[in-house]
């Protein structure tokens, strides 16, 4: 007994325990599938001989397996049969692949000569210069067709961000404001306090946006990202706090608190000088200035995101995804000196062919002020080159009643990634998808 291997002893001990209690579903399945160890099989079978309950459960399990097998057999039998000639096709493909590999082993010149010897034999020597000119013209024509690749958009987006922001930069604003906050189902509560705002260009720290007009806080949103989670609160004009992200209970937030302000003060003192030109005050701000000085600044751009999925359509290539960030903007309406938020956020996903500059589909997602998300996927019936004119009219989003209509095209996406925002002036009554200037053509 002393020389008995420990493993054997352990299994027998477990087996003895197994005899005393019911088998688990997993043990039953492993027993039926022959995946239990020998010692465990003996113990399990011993238990089954003495336990009607487990034996019935095992029979039920095997009946379920039998039903699934029969179901699959019949479902597949109802499928159309495979196309004939698949084996011959594979043999031909393998032969071609083998020949290609052989040609590569003999060098590129031999491979080209082998493949195109018939073609070259038909072309008189005098036509060679003409062919070369035609090839150069084709390349030049393709280069001037202004196709846009995903890589190009990424580069331009990076350039625009790099031009507008320095990592770690802290922007600061300060003013006295009357903050009117009203929770759903309760009376409005006024807070008169000094209000400060920081915009720190650091994704792991803090991003703040707030908009002030006519001495009262009209709309504000806070986004706090700590690297693993992202929390966001949004104030709307005289309304409740809206929590845009699921998973957290809506809550009333007056933030930052005085203690947090005091904690941030030293950081502010180090950077206030160079950020002086960004200071605003409640006495001078107007809706127009709000548009000019607030919305068009980087703080409006930094939380936006556009996902571009670049899919290579090569026959034997797998798809790849590329993601990057470009701005999205809240939509506001100018109305008699007030700024109303009429839409919250939107983002667009384009599916590009990275190599051939083709766009396949566009996913538009809009987050409404109510917290609801509206999305629409547009798929092209045929491939189109991504250029200003080709896709201008394709991505027309028809939102539900009460939601402003706007259109998203490749041109807008590209212009949003540009460094300089070249929108036209806003007029009272206009509805502006901020960040995407109205088409200039």
């Amino acid at each position: 007994m002393l020389e008995r291997p420990f493993a054997e002893w352990f299994c027998r001990s477990r087996g003895q325990m197994l005899r005393l209690r019911h088998l688990t579903d997993e043990q039953l399945l492993q027993l039926a599938d022959g995946e239990l160890s020998t010692a465990m099989v003996a113990a399990a079978n011993g238990h089954l001989r003495s336990c009607w309950t487990c034996r019935t459960r095992l029979e039920d399990l095997e009946q379920a397996i039998a039903s699934v097998v029969i179901y699959r057999h019949r479902a597949l039998a109802a499928c159309p049969p495979p196309a004939p000639g698949a084996r011959a096709k594979l043999i031909a493909a393998l032969a071609a692949a083998a020949a290609e590999g052989e040609a590569l082993r003999h060098g590129w010149f031999v491979a080209v000569r082998t493949r195109f010897v018939g073609v070259f034999a038909l072309v008189p020597i005098g036509l060679v210069p003409l062919l070369l000119v035609a090839a150069v013209a084709t390349v030049f024509w393709r280069a001037t067709a202004e196709p846009v690749s995903a890589a190009d958009i990424i580069r331009r987006a990076d350039e625009s961000l790099a031009a507008l922001v320095h990592p770690g930069q802290v922007l600061h604003r300060r003013w006295n404001a009357t903050l009117t906050v009203r929770a759903v189902g309760s009376a409005p509560v006024e807070h008169r306090r000094e209000f400060r705002e920081w915009v720190q260009i650091n994704p792991n720290r803090l991003a703040v946006r707030s908009y002030l007009t006519d001495g009262r806080l009209l709309s504000a949103s806070w986004t706090v990202a700590d690297g693993s989670s992202r929390r966001r609160w949004m104030y709307d004009a005289g309304a409740a706090v809206l929590h845009a992200k699921p998973g957290s209970a809506p809550r009333m937030v007056v933030w930052p608190s005085d203690e947090e302000l005091a904690r941030e003060a030293p950081r502010h003192s180090q950077t206030s000088q160079r950020l002086l030109d960004l200071s605003l005050s409640a006495e001078t701000i107007t809706p127009e200035e709000l548009l000019e000085r607030g919305f068009r600044r980087l703080s409006d751009r930094m939380n936006a995101q556009l996902t571009v999925t670049a899919v290579s359509l090569g026959k034997h290539q797998t798809g790849k995804r590329v993601q990057f960030f470009v701005p999205t903007y809240p939509m506001f309406r100018l109305s008699g000196g007030h700024v109303e938020a009429v839409g919250a956020e939107w983002s667009a996903s384009l599916v590009f062919d990275d190599e051939n500059h083709l766009v396949r589909s566009c996913l538009v997602e809009i987050r409404l002020p109510s917290g609801d998300n509206v999305s629409a996927l547009f798929t092209l019936n045929h491939w189109e080159t991504v250029s200003a004119s080709a896709v201008e009219d394709i991505f027309v989003f028809e939102p539900p009643a009460g939601t402003p209509t706007f259109r998203v095209g490749a041109r807008e996406v590209l212009e949003a990634a540009d460094t300089v925002w070249q929108g036209q002036g806003a007029a009272t009554g206009d509805v502006l998808p901020l960040g995407f200037p109205r088409s200039t053509h």
Binding site: D25, E26, L29, Q30, D33, E35, D60, L61, Q63, A64, I65, S67, V68, V69, I70, Y71, R72, R74, A75, L76, A77, A78, C79, P80, P81, P82, A83, A86, R87, A88, K89, L90, I91, A93, L94, A95, A97, A98, G101, V311, L313, H316, T318, G319
Partner: protein
């Protein structure tokens, strides 16, 4: 009849062993041999995953072409059966957007259902069978993709370890997935 390899051959986990001394098997022979053995199971598997039957052949062609390139480049030749299923699985999923989506037909859509049952074709028996298949169909529709993959690979005769290798998970995960799937199916059958 086309026979790619002359002489007696044995196939063990994708390794072709031929006793014909006059000709050494090439990589192409090896791939075709595996195709002959596996095209049925792999085709069933990818169709079960939702690939349209008309596209299944294309997945198979691509899979075995990649196998050819894999072997030509001196890739590992052990457990090629698992390798083929894994690559077919990846092709079916990674390029699914470019393919027609397909859902296995439900019992309601099965043509000539009375003939497929065979045996006892009395109306009562057919009705009971139909109800049973309806329940299985409903329960299978609720399984997670991972559970479904484990189930289909198991039905193709794979051991837990082989399924784990094909799906890139552990054997205990496979066991857990299969257990959950079958518990759900068992409960659904008795509901």
């Amino acid at each position: 009849m086309t026979t790619p390899i002359s002489g007696q051959q044995a196939l063990s986990l994708g390794t072709v062993v031929t006793t014909d001394s006059s000709r050494r098997p090439t990589v192409e022979d090896q791939v075709i041999g595996l195709y002959d053995q596996l095209h049925g199971p792999v085709s069933r598997y990818v169709v079960s995953l939702g690939v349209h039957p008309a596209d299944a052949d294309e997945v198979l062609q691509e899979t075995f072409l990649r196998l050819f390139k894999h072997l030509t480049k001196g890739g590992a030749a052990h457990n090629l059966r698992g390798w083929v299923f894994r690559v077919a699985h990846n092709i079916a999923f990674n390029e699914r957007r470019d393919r027609r989506h397909f859902t296995l037909p439900s019992p309601e859509e099965w043509d000539e259902i009375a003939n497929t049952f065979g045996g006892d074709t009395s109306p009562e028996h057919l009705l009971l069978e139909r109800e049973r298949m309806d329940r299985v169909h409903a329960q299978i529709s609720r399984l997670s993709p991972q559970q479904l993959r484990c189930l289909h690979l198991r039905m193709e005769g794979f051991r837990y370890r082989e399924i784990a290798e094909a799906l890139g998970v552990t054997a205990s995960t496979v066991s857990e997935m299969l257990k959950r799937a079958l518990v759900r199916l068992t409960r659904g059958m008795h509901a």
